[in-house]
Amino acid sequence: MNENSILLKMQDISKSFPGVLANDHVTIECEKGHVLGLLGENGAGKTTLMNILYGLYQPDQGKIFVDGKQVVINSPSEAINHGIGMVHQHFKLVDTLSVIENVILGIPTNKAVLDFGPAKKKLEKLCKEYELFVDPEEIVWRLPVGKQQWVEILKALYRDCKVLVLDEPTAVLTPSESDQLCRAIRKITEQGRSVVFISHKLREVIEITDKVTVIRDGKVIGTVNTKEATQSILAEMMVGRPVTIERKARPTVKEHSAVLVMKNVNAFDDRGVQALKDFNLTVHAGEIVGVAGVDGNGQRELSECITGLRKPSSGSITIQDKQVTNVIADPSFVGFIPEDRQKTGLVLDFTVAENLLIKDYKEKPYVKNGFLQYSEMKKHAEHMIKKYNIKSPSGDIKVKTLSGGNQQKVVIARELDAQPVLDVASHPTRGLDLGAVSNVHDILLNERNRGAAVLFISAELQEVMALSDRIVVLYSGQIMGELNGETADQFTIGQMMLGQTTEAKK
């Protein structure tokens, strides 16, 4: 490969946040006139990487080269000067200004009075060139979302960017708008500009890109030429884990009554899009049901519906024949490890002792005569710290000072110690190191062996296969198929995760 043709290179980039290694020695290269796809699930580290490129974060280590020259980017304006244009997932437009005002916003001028004339002409020329038509005078909030994206793209082109980064651009577009975007991207690359296309949708990545770099858990899994790639190769790269997790031996549990029964459940996500469609699932005592699938296919809504945090629009959910109506905050009934422990599972500014009791703070002996008994809470915390091997000097320190793995232990201790009849574990190992992952697996397996019904939601195919008695594959809010955990093979699950129904081999 000719080194000179590399327009953008990010070499060996690492970036960590407290408890999370978001980018781990990531290297990407984009050739002149090419489209590089950046493929990975939510939270894989794509956006962090692009924010580093745009000067919003500083990398802990690594170098960035634009046009062969090493650059240090401290702020977005420096990024723009280096010819980097970015269209964020959430647009950064000023709603109350017109299109043309947004486009020229931030461009230094030495005139006292703004003259829109030349700017407008330049913009109209760009509109024609890329067939992205918008009225320069229109106020941005009046534009449909798709058009707002055109404005973002035109804004970057107006600044004559060499590299255009599009972060999940099709998420807000209609199919015909997506086609329009594809055409525009081709025209952009014809002129020797490069495009970095971030997505977790396989189909469009294959359609648009020249090369694809797959990122997973902050690491580059591999880079392939799109021509040689198929959906299943990419899917395997997305879901495969470098380290195989051994399937552990397990005893059969006698108790096998149905604990969680979901019948024809429909639910909507926060944006009002249907997230679960006529969903049926039964989980029995003494089994782990693994929910596999690319993240964002209804997993979050599924766990929230079961625990009462989200009201389904129709259908019924029962746990031990009790209808779920309100939020279940009783860890002796349902233990719920939520997918985002820092946002949902913990109060970071509370101490370990307080966090261990955010559900049970009202119970005896933690309340006496209407007052909280801090000494009892502390005793409880010390017991839990020992029992669950939480690395914390005492119960008095704030939970935000713990590492990610130990924060998760606090959640697990709180949710599972009271021996619930149903465990809902949503991505319980996300962001944890291997030792912590295996620890969580052991705990969940023990829960099953004790006779709890366990619903295990994860995007890690390997761990779903290692842990589950039964596997259901979630795609677009529906179960694509059900497989036996002992005999399921990765290929079949991978196909189902992409929405292709193959006859499930039981």
């Binding site: 946040f17 407290p18 974060y57 945090l309 309100n326 939020v327 279940i328 905050a329 009783d330 719920f336 939520p338 820092q342 946002k343 949902t344 599972g345 913990l346 109060v347 970071l348 500014d349 509370f350 307080e354 955010i358 559900k359 703070y361 009202k362 309340v367 209407g370 007052f371 909280l372 801090y374 704030k398 935000k400 000072t401």
Partner: protein, 373 residues
């Protein structure tokens, strides 16, 4: 910050000093900048501040003025503080004070033949009831309809102020033919007694200080306080832990309103002995500043309310003795608030830079930043 937390090892006082570091630095900067302004206006700032200090502490009488002045600030401040703790900006204290005073007025005017203590308690209860219902309106709108509570409370304050204007000028409770819009005089049995001869010191400030201590204990040591703090720190976790956050928001706003209403009632029962038009101009908004400087902590409210009233009372003396404009006290207060917020924001930016994206940093300074906008 993580390791420094226990540097000052004196229990309670050490924590207090550590946690109020921002505040003390902000106040010092405010006083310093105020001094510059005083110097610009042609007065020696040391003399001016000395005269302010004398004005506040020179005699028992002047110090009792400080205490009397602090009464509505203490009650209003704690009302705002409890809102801050639960993550809502209950900025309508001004309105609650008026509505509370109206409630008190209704039962204070007639001779009910009750012993004073019962009559006064009745006035307090009616005042808190009125103000609580008033506060339930923005509380409901915020919790169930998503209406911004700052807008709702401030708008309702205007309604309360104009409603009071009607009460003291057009209603049956108004004194006819008065030189200034006012209500009929209150019955003797409803008036708060003067605690010290020759001063206007009534029990109000002590009720305020007591409330600060009570709410410190409630927030720290009761399940209700636990819920409130959880909601303020992380509303998502609070919902996950089964807390009815809507109900909790309404409750904290109603409690804040009741405290504001009590503050207003004490003003009319203890000091004015009638309901006047615009009897607490701006005090409700000052209590928002009090709570801000206190960082939402009830114990901090005690200190910042006293500090504010020292500035106000001493500022009047300063103005008379040295010729500095009488609005200088208000300017210094405003500077202190801005610097306290500024120091907090600067420090949280510094910490944010150090460990970007740590969501735990969204503590009070962050919320203050929002409030300033």
């Amino acid at each position: 910050m993580r390791t420094k937390q226990k540097i000052i090892k004196v229990p309670f006082i050490g924590d207090l000093i550590y946690s109020s570091g921002h505040t003390i630095l902000g106040i010092l900067l405010g006083i310093f900048t105020g001094g510059l302004l005083i110097a610009i206006s042609g007065v020696n700032p040391f003399l001016a501040y000395a005269s302010m200090f004398r004005g506040a502490f020179n005699s028992l009488q002047s110090f009792s003025n400080v205490l009397v002045r602090s009464s509505p600030l203490l009650l209003g401040g704690i009302g705002v503080a409890i809102g801050i703790k639960s993550g809502v900006w209950n900025t309508g204290i001004e309105g609650y004070m008026y509505i509370g005073a109206i409630g008190a007025t209704i039962v204070a005017i007639p001779e009910l033949g009750l012993p004073p203590i019962i009559h006064i308690l009745l006035c307090f209860i009616v005042a808190m009831l009125f103000a609580g219902l008033w506060g339930a309106i923005p509380g409901y709108l915020r919790a169930y309809k998503g209406v911004n509570e700052v807008t709702a409370t401030i708008m309702l304050s205007y309604v309360a102020i104009y409603f009071t204007n009607w009460i003291v000028s057009g209603s049956p409770l108004a004194q006819e033919g008065a030189y200034f819009p006012m209500s009929l005089p209150f019955a003797e049995s409803s008036l708060l007694s003067i605690l010290m001869k020759g001063t206007s010191l009534h029990p109000g400030p002590f009720i305020g200080l007591l409330m600060c201590i009570i709410f410190h204990i409630i927030l720290k040591y009761t399940p209700f306080g636990f819920r409130t703090r959880m909601l303020g720190y992380n509303p998502f976790a609070a919902q996950y832990a089964g807390i009815n956050s809507k109900k909790q928001i309404v409750m904290t706003m109603v409690i804040g309103a009741m405290l504001g209403g009590l503050g207003g009632a004490i003003e009319v029962l203890g000091l004015k002995h009638r309901l006047y038009m615009e009897f607490v101009t701006g005090v409700g908004y000052e209590s928002v500043a009090v709570a801000l400087v206190a960082g939402g902590e009830p114990i901090g409210v005690m200190l910042s309310a006293l500090f504010f009233s020292i500035l106000k009372v001493g500022g009047a003396t300063m103005s008379i003795e040295t010729g500095v404009s009488s609005s200088m006290a208000s300017i210094i207060i405003a500077l202190c608030v801005l610097f306290v917020i500024g120091v907090g924001v600067a420090d949280s930016k510094r910490l944010k830079k150090r460990d970007e994206k740590d969501p735990g940093k969204k503590t009070l300074s962050f919320k203050m930043e929002e409030a300033v906008k």
